[in-house]
Symmetry: C2
């Protein structure tokens, strides 16, 4: 399987866009990150490696990475869009603790299957879905 960098380069070439050091740096920074970073957080990490990079470039690159299907935007209901590498990872949804922000990746074939069936029943061709489960985790409940 190709690595994300290759895929990104191919995407850029195909779209007649350029592979710049900033774009490489930004992709590399996301890859090295296990967490789900907001654009702001990512910008901080990127800046630590190259202080000259601008905020706007991070936003613009993030958009490209989403279009290239390498990265997926997440909505943890805290007002910021977060991102995670999706390339090479199986699709999954999230279970989020609304107290501490902890989040767990979940994958449930039963649900995925039902979603398809529901869409079909209504004559829709499903293109994507979002499912977020919000709750309070064990630790936060015990901590009380």
């Amino acid at each position: 399987m190709k690595n994300p960098q290759e895929v990104f380069n191919e995407y850029l070439a195909e779209m007649n866009l350029k592979a710049t050091p900033q774009r490489r740096l930004i992709l590399d920074t996301i890859i090295k990150q296990k967490a789900h970073l907001s654009s702001e957080e990512l910008y901080a990490k990127v800046k630590a490696r190259d202080a000259s990079v601008g905020q706007a470039t991070v936003y613009r690159t993030l958009k490209l990475l989403v279009e290239a299907d390498l990265v997926e935007p997440l909505d943890f209901a805290d007002g910021v869009t977060r991102y995670e590498i999706s390339y090479g990872k199986e699709h999954h949804d999230h279970l989020i603790c609304s107290v501490c922000g902890k989040n767990i990746e979940i994958l449930d074939p039963t649900i995925e299957k039902r979603q398809e069936e529901i869409a079909k029943k209504h004559g829709f061709k499903l293109s994507s879905h979002k499912m977020y489960l919000y709750g309070i985790c064990d630790d936060c409940r015990k901590g009380k």
Copy 2:
């Protein structure tokens, strides 16, 4: 079952807040609406009935209605938060056409049950969830 207006009045009384004509008007306008309105759209409808009402009051009242569990915010992924009356309606999720914006309310017990099970398995006490299915509807596909 109490009607929404009563519930709202009780909520306001309990919180030592006041039942003002604006608040009544806004709730009434949402109730009369079958669509999922954005704050902006709601503001327009409200203004048609009383031009003196301000935008901010609509936002503020919407927040109250959500806290009172009468209204639920929706995220159709188009940059605006939409709202619908939830009081007296069974919980449901949405299937949205990303071309024409049409949306269908869905309810699937299988999925609901699995969500609970998943949360439990991870030691979470589920407080809410969001599920949106995005796709393209029959009409929009044929229209092409």
